[in-house]
Symmetry: C2
Subunit: 526 residues, 2 copies
């Protein structure tokens, strides 16, 4: 059982693509893993999109309970895969067992959170304005608003979270919760993991009696199948996590369609960490905390602390000393793919070659074929402000420390950085004045602002924002993690004087779904 | 008092542009009106954007009460303009006094609605997840989310609503409510009206002690000043109402920026009206209601009923007879500008020239220089399905009736149309079965679905959606009318473990703003 056949998923079928084959790679050995996966033709893409389009009207009108149960059943079927899933994901990603087990838990919790979101019904934004038939000069009609799904969503999984940001990850879970069928383009870095999870979703859809096209998963290259998927008229939105170049390519394709569609691309972030003087002077654990966060998952987190910013001081020198020791103790770690490993080494070499940038510390090297060596570099504030290339994300465990001459330069650096997923501030009570000056800038720059921590932990909850201004994402109005992720795939529809027998349950008299609604401008809980 | 000087508004200054001049035109006489308006240079654009950028942090942190009062003061200052505003708007637009007085009321009500929205605070989406310091395997941090403004917004007014969709119209009101400074590009069709209203906003900003850059208004061409405004790095979102070509040009500019920004363009809609058999047979007033809606404001409504769809029947023949009589009784009406008038005539001629399209009825002609003659044309369902050019919006009082051979063809026509602002269904109890089949398609196609009415009235309320799939707007996730319009200019920010003294009031312990908040996943009213 749980065999991997090299198949993609087209509705209720498992299909072996005929446009060539590709194999997954074990990055810890730099060797291919069996079996071969067949690549999709455009006919398969066409079929997946057609089924998704046909499924939409039926799927989006499933009751909250049915849809919530479907999401929970997906979680159950993923758990049913047992160790087979974890073993394959370890092979394909080089990530350790505990991390992948944790990520599996996160993935299932995420599906269950969206089941709760669907049952709670706040996402519908149900709103009713009563008719005022005798109002002068003109009567007011009966108006009722709810949100519905945008339509079928194309999902592109990320290499660095083969479960939580992939086939049944946050994009898929939130799109399905919103009532949108999903067509996944499987990530080539974890094809076997994708097949296992894809079949779990397919199984849950069958058990839950969902319309056939509610879920499909294609295998193919981003340049061909990926681009064609985004260009397909049946697709109405895109969820993507990956590189800046990849995200921008999808944005361009989506904007060039006859009907442009929204793209939610989470792309590039260096996550500035401001080390204020009081914190540097009083928190002995800071160097170790930094080193741990910077090397977590071989530095392959979107929220990795790529940029440290501090004002010159003896306390900063002491931090550098401690960080040096902590980093030097870090062993090399296998990266997700040979391609990511070579891009990392290239990025580090480019950084090291920039005039004014100096190496502070390096982690241990080793003989892993895709092993990333941790690194910390430094430059002055003036250098950073003058050299835009220092803002390029290096995906992996290398950070750059900006040594500012004074507070004004630190604030200038904050104002200079591009949009970010996170911005962290390490501060004590003595730093509150400086933090207050920094905060308005950080609000404009980042989706999440955190104090006395590092951004690498991303809680799946209601108040999380995993998003931020460009280029951290393509759409700062959204989050890809947490309950708010469902809002990305919804649009409002207003019903004016629609007969009672045609009104959706969310808007019916008597509030049969018992959801919060805004009635004549006032929020009513149920 | 209330003199018109030909000036634009740069923060607290009134400035006469030096890049040439332009005059408004009275379309009822086809003659220019004094005075000459000076056109902006890039230096003035730069200054307006710089001030807006500088104002943002201060303006967005004004208290709800201060910001709401500012919006209400704008409404008061507009009313203070008295008859001078209405007279100038009549001259510039050719629209009658009662219509413009009504539109002024709508504009002020809209500002007051957004004052209420700001005080209610639901738009902030305040959300709190409590810290769980003892949770295993990892503690949960304290997470709090609120929405903040995107940043300065560029607003492009519409020709057809010189008050309600212009300088202090829905885009400006909702952007200011969201905490975003606004830079308006004044519409060349009503420059004097714009100056009067712009100075009322400026006056309100001064009285309310707002930061200088909270509002500016530039005069210039769309191709130069308009495009440069959208391209300016300080601008973070765009509100536009106008033509499809104009909207698409702004979308392209916004997407090509180093930092792409959202464009909310309301563009092109032909607003299909489905006349089902029971309604045709029983509602004698339908022909007159149609003719009144089609010719309202010389047909210059975004929600004008441009497309009628019905199944062949004796009742349809009778409707056509009645509509013919009703339209023939309609006099020609002055259009907004000579350019719109000639575009209308060109559009009608193109429609009339399409093979398979026949003229049913025309309104009266007259000797108005910019007078629009009402018209009704007809084609079969098969012709409509075969000829995409029949979907082009004709801005003005001309509609096309699609005569379908059966219900299947009617449903095919519904599925064939592009995205719309509105879709109307005329139905009696006997038509409920057919309406039920139609509804899912209309939900996918339109932002507002209405029964037994025409879409030309757009209520300013909580449950209104004035938006819809492309090409009716550039972003189906939004509405440009009603309380929801504020959501267009907001983005979420998450605060993790942020010290109490740095938290915004919306997220503070004890809920000092007394706003609804989601606390640990549950909605709490205050």
């Amino acid at each position: 059982m749980h065999q991997i056949n090299g198949e993609m998923i087209i509705g209720r079928k498992a299909v072996q693509g005929k446009e060539g084959t590709v194999k997954a790679v074990d990055p810890s050995r730099n060797e291919q893993i069996e079996p071969a996966f067949g690549l999709a033709s455009n006919a398969e893409l066409e079929q997946a999109c057609k089924l998704a389009g046909e499924a939409f009207d039926k799927y989006r009108e499933t009751t909250p309970e049915v849809r919530a149960k479907f999401l929970e059943t997906i979680a159950d079927r993923i758990m049913d895969l047992g160790p087979a899933l974890i073993e394959r994901a370890m092979q394909e990603s080089g990530l350790p067992q505990a991390r992948l087990e944790g990520e599996r838990g996160r993935t299932c919790n995420q599906l269950r959170l969206f089941a709760k979101v669907v049952r709670d019904g706040r996402y519908l934004s149900a709103t009713l304005d009563s008719a005022l038939p005798t109002r002068a000069p003109a009567p007011r009609p009966d108006l009722r608003l709810r949100k519905i799904g945008l339509g079928p969503v194309a999902v592109f999984g990320a290499s660095n979270f083969p479960l939580a940001f992939s086939v049944a990850g946050g994009d898929t879970a939130s799109a399905l919760a919103a009532g949108c069928p999903v067509v996944v383009k499987a990530h080539s870095a974890h094809l076997g993991t994708s097949e296992l999870v894809g079949k779990a979703v397919q199984q849950a859809a069958i058990e839950s009696d969902m319309p056939e096209g509610v879920f499909s998963m294609l295998i193919g290259s981003g340049q061909t199948i990926g681009q064609n998927l985004v260009a397909h008229p049946a697709i109405k939105a895109v969820g993507f996590t990956g590189s800046r170049a990849g995200g921008i390519a999808l944005m361009k394709t989506a904007a060039a369609r006859n009907e442009p569609i929204p793209v939610y691309a989470e792309m590039s972030s260096i996550n500035p960490v401001f080390l204020l003087e009081g914190a540097l002077a009083s928190n002995d654990k800071l160097p170790q905390q930094f080193a741990d966060s910077a090397t977590l998952g071989a530095g392959q987190f979107c929220t990795n602390p790529g940029l440290l910013i501090a004002i010159e001081s003896p306390a900063l020198d002491k931090f550098v000393e401690g960080a040096t020791a902590a980093l030097q103790a870090k062993g090399a770690a296998t990266m997700l793919t040979p391609g990511i490993h070579s891009a990392y080494n290239k990025g580090v070499a480019q950084l090291a070659g920039v005039e004014g940038v100096s190496l502070i510390a390096q982690g241990k090297t080793g003989d892993l074929p895709c092993g990333a060596v941790a690194g910390l570099y430094a430059a002055t504030g003036a250098t950073f402000l003058a050299k835009p290339e220092l803002e390029s994300e290096i995906f992996g465990p290398t950070s750059l420390l900006i040594r500012c001459k004074d507070e004004a330069e630190l604030l200038a650096v904050a104002e200079h950085v591009e949009g970010q997923l996170t911005a962290a501030v390490h501060a004590t009570a003595a730093d509150i004045g400086a933090a207050k000056k920094l905060l308005p800038t950080l609000e404009r720059k980042a989706g999440r602002i955190l104090f006395n921590g590092f951004g690498t932990g991303v809680e799946v909850s209601h108040a999380m924002v995993h998003g931020g201004p460009f280029p951290s994402t393509s759409d700062s109005r959204s989050t890809s993690v947490g309950a708010g992720a469902i809002d990305r795939f919804l649009r409002p529809v207003s019903y004016q004087d629609v007969p009672a027998e045609l009104l959706p349950a969310a808007l019916a008299d008597g509030n049969p779904l018992a959801i919060p609604r805004v009635v004549d401008g006032e929020l009513v809980l149920k």
